[in-house]
């Protein structure tokens, strides 16, 4: 790798392939930058803002800024992590994220990120949103909009991978919420399936496949043993043929 295609994160050199974002290059190099709405298999969204870093003195989302030679990126600093904690607290109070009563606990990226960033409380006043009742109309999957963090991963997965466009984000501001592609508004009336990519990408407990919630006991779930920092997800290798 030529010296030209490298930049630094907190002083550490990171090589990149042209076309990669700062976040992609960092994760590929094993340098963790907290993120929620980014997923290696999808185009960047840039909405959760957890990956906000300082690039050559300017704030920006690591997932949407192209990696450039010689960039000086600051990420793991007390100030930026404090900001990230606050963004996490915002996401926690905006929805109904009560870990002890949620079957996603242990597999939840929001929770894992909160542990990783040492967020010890919700701090702000809870919104207790009412984005409608739990939609259990689908035989295999349930949808709890009040646990949604509006990352639009399901929107992207259903549209770009499953080819179904089951989900959209509707409304504005704090009233934003998921809607599904059915005149009835019910997930059960869409072509959604538990095997869809959109069913597995939800980082929180908004889209939950039924009857498997406790197949792995609490204590032996994805983030119970190791921090999310040490379990960086990489894009699936390209299929041969």
């Amino acid at each position: 790798m030529s010296i030209r295609n490298s930049f630094t994160i907190d002083g550490e050199r990171v090589d990149f392939e042209p076309g990669q974002s700062i976040l992609q290059a960092a994760l590929a190099a094993g340098v963790f930058i907290p993120h929620l709405c980014f997923h290696p298999e999808f185009s960047a969204h840039g909405s959760c803002k957890l990956c906000t870093v300082v690039v050559n003195g300017r704030n920006g989302s690591a997932c949407t800024i192209a990696a450039m030679p010689g960039q000086e990126v600051r990420s793991d600093t007390p100030e930026l992590n404090q900001r990230r904690r606050m963004l996490l607290q915002m996401l926690f109070v905006e929805g109904n994220h009560f870990c002890p009563g949620c079957e996603k606990s242990g597999n939840c990226k929001l929770q894992a990120m909160a542990y990783e960033l040492e967020m010890f409380n919700d701090h702000f006043q809870h919104f207790f949103p009412d984005r409608g009742p739990v939609d259990a109309s689908h035989p295999e999957v349930m949808l709890d909009r009040n646990r949604c963090i509006q990352c639009e991963l399901c929107v992207r997965a259903s549209r770009d991978i499953d080819g179904k466009e089951v989900f959209s984000l509707a409304g504005r501001g704090p009233a934003s919420h998921l809607v599904v592609n059915a005149a009835s508004g019910l997930l059960g009336d869409t072509p959604f399936a538990a095997t869809d990519k959109a069913a597995e990408v939800c980082p929180v407990g908004a889209i939950m496949v039924k009857r498997v919630g406790f197949t792995a006991p609490i204590g032996r779930r994805k983030y119970d043993g190791a921090s999310i920092r040490d379990q960086i997800e990489h894009p699936a290798p390209a299929q041969e043929g």
């Binding site: 803002k49 989302s61 963004l87 915002m90 984000l169 409304g171 704090p174 592609n181 005149a183």
Partner: protein, 595 residues
């Protein structure tokens, strides 16, 4: 339903069944049916071959699209702080009492619904309201009473006294833009004489900068767009004048429209664009028909259409697309999303619109005023133009003056004018503060009135709201914070949640439950919103709170309670539901009773 299907079919045909025209289609459908019913949504989804969820996403994003029935008369009171200072709240409550309907509700007989809306651009002649997309200004109790009678009688709006709907220009001071005569086509002829590159060169010499607020050099924007490889390019006029307290574009659209069109045509000539689009805010719907007429007249004169001014191959025409009540659509990439029939959420930049904009083609988005200035540059030449104003901020600027002044209206000054000069000219006395450039701009205190309006000192998109010493700057900031909470598109965490949290903290302070703790919280939230938000809305949403906290702290402190902290959560009130269920009202069922 058959009749409605036919009507919808006609609307769809008129819009070529193009899903990218969804916002326009929904507006048209709603003006026929009153609201977007589930049947209409399903019909449109079917005809446009799109998921119904996409229809819902759009309808629920725009304030002027409704997915539930509204009154046959939809009354929306402009809720900017200036309207409030002119008594809009009392007038609204008066109307609500007379029509027996709560805020945000529909009367039992379906006749009327009453609500508030963000600044409607009538700050110089408020208080103002909108009724079924028409604007009524200079409201008084008497006029509200008359309106109530007309609504009760079911009188169609066309039969209402026409003077209700008369909007004045109120030009108070004119310079090179408002004060010069205009000969249609002269600037465009000059442009053709210069040739496309010559236009860009002259524009660069003028150092004209965008009037929307950010101040990007217009020549550079046009050059970047001209250089981008593409078959098609667009000139888009941003007429989504939503910044609270701004109304100068309204005046330009009303009385100087030909210059806007000609500025767009010059742009089309310079960058090789054949299509122009004006994105007109929904609040200015009443301007649409006159604008269409003026466009037709321009076409007749050969200033628009094919072979414009007889130049073979120079084809350029303009169409108007309407907004539907979303402040964020003034942000250029959100505007483009809206033009493409989507919710107005700002895009990730880069790519910038000059390389990939409307329909993924290179697009120039210019403010209404900027396009008028292009005509001026062509008329007097770039060098002469650059002599006006200051070195970094050439030419003149339109200022929308409202609030505690004797003569509200539009004032045109060369850049570099001092705040105090504007205050003197508009008859403002005993001034405590001036809010520059809208809700996200700067709040200036008297010791700053010597500063100058210019990109290098006090930049502005044009709003100039004046507050005298009787005003409460805390309430001003609280109004702005609620504005942002209402208008945040919801895309990014810091703005979506931060604005809502900040607004509720301001409410808590207003309720007398705030302490020093809350002031610190506002500062902390403001910092995260400023540094982490996706676009300018979130980045500037905390400005007014930060500025007033610093400069008008007593307005906050006199509301604070003595203690360190009080919860906003009212435990006793939260027990009300339990009391109702158990039919208890005794002392033991109340917290103080337990103590």
């Amino acid at each position: 339903m058959q009749g409605l299907d036919d009507t919808l079919g006609q609307i769809l045909t008129a819009h070529r069944k193009d899903p990218r025209r969804l916002v326009q289609i929904l507006r048209a459908a709603q003006s026929e049916a009153g609201w977007i019913s589930p049947e209409i949504a399903a019909f449109l989804a079917d005809e446009l071959c799109m998921p119904i969820s996409r229809i819902h996403a759009v309808v629920q994003f725009y304030a002027f699209l409704y997915d539930r029935p509204v009154g046959r008369y939809r009354v929306l009171f402009s809720d900017n702080i200036i309207d409030r200072m002119l008594g809009s709240v009392a007038l609204r409550q008066h109307m609500q009492r007379r029509m027996k309907v709560g805020r945000g509700a529909v009367s039992a007989d379906g006749l009327v619904s009453i609500d508030t809306t963000s600044c409607t651009g009538m700050g110089d002649q408020g208080p103002a309201l909108m009724i079924n997309n028409r604007q009524i200004v200079r409201l008084t109790t008497r006029r509200i009473d008359e309106i109530c009678d007309l609504m009760r009688d079911g009188a169609p709006l066309e039969d209402w006294p026409s003077h209700y709907f008369t909007i004045s220009d109120r030009i108070r001071r004119a310079e090179s833009l408002l004060g010069t005569s205009y000969v249609p086509g002269k600037a465009l002829a000059q442009a053709i004489e210069l040739g496309p590159q010559g236009v860009l060169d002259d524009l660069r010499r003028s150092n004209l900068r965008g009037r929307g607020g950010a101040g990007f050099t217009t020549a550079m924007k046009w050059e970047l767009c001209a250089e981008a490889e593409a078959e098609t390019r667009y000139i888009i006029c941003n007429a989504d004048e939503g910044e609270p307290g701004t109304f100068k574009d309204r005046v330009l659209l009303n009385s100087f429209a030909e210059r806007i069109f000609e500025g767009m045509a010059i742009g089309g000539y310079a960058i090789g664009a054949r299509h122009g689009v004006i994105y007109l805010r929904g609040e200015y719907d009443y301007l649409r028909a006159p604008l269409e007429m003026k466009l037709a007249a321009m076409r007749q004169r050969g200033l628009l259409g094919t072979n414009v001014l007889g130049v073979p191959g120079f084809d350029f025409d303009i169409e108007i697309q309407m907004g539907a009540g979303a402040y964020i659509c003034g942000e250029e990439t959100a505007l483009i999303e809206s033009l493409e029939g989507k919710p107005g959420r700002p895009r990730i930049r880069p790519p910038f619109p000059v390389t990939r904009g409307y329909n993924d083609m290179p697009s120039v988005v210019n403010n209404v005023e900027t396009l008028c200035k292009v005509v001026e540059v062509m008329r007097i030449g770039g060098r002469a133009y650059a002599l006006l104003g200051t070195k970094q901020s050439t030419g003149s600027k339109l200022i929308s003056v409202s609030g505690d002044v004797a003569r509200p209206g539009v004032y045109e000054y060369p850049f570099g004018v001092r705040i105090q000069t504007v205050l003197d000219d508009c008859g403002a006395t005993d001034v405590a503060a001036v809010q520059i450039s809208g809700a996200g701009g700067m709040t200036l205190a008297p010791h700053e009135f010597g500063r100058r309006i210019a990109f290098e000192d006090v930049p502005t998109s044009g709003a100039f709201m004046v507050f005298n010493r009787s005003r409460d700057m805390f309430e001003v900031a609280r109004n702005f914070m609620h504005f942002f909470a209402h208008e945040s598109c919801g895309f990014c965490t810091p703005c979506r949640v931060g604005c809502a949290l900040s607004a509720s903290i301001m409410d808590k302070i207003a309720a007398g439950l705030g302490a020093q703790y809350e002031l610190n919280e506002l500062t902390r939230l403001g910092a995260v919103m400023r540094t982490s938000s996706h676009c300018g809305l979130g980045q500037t949403a905390g400005n007014a709170v930060a500025d007033t906290l610093q400069k008008f702290r007593p307005d906050y402190e006199r509301r604070l309670m003595a203690g360190d902290f009080a919860p906003a959560f009212d435990l006793d009130a939260a027990l009300e539901r339990a009391r109702q269920v158990t039919s208890r009202e005794d002392a033991q069922a109340h917290l103080e009773g337990v103590a």
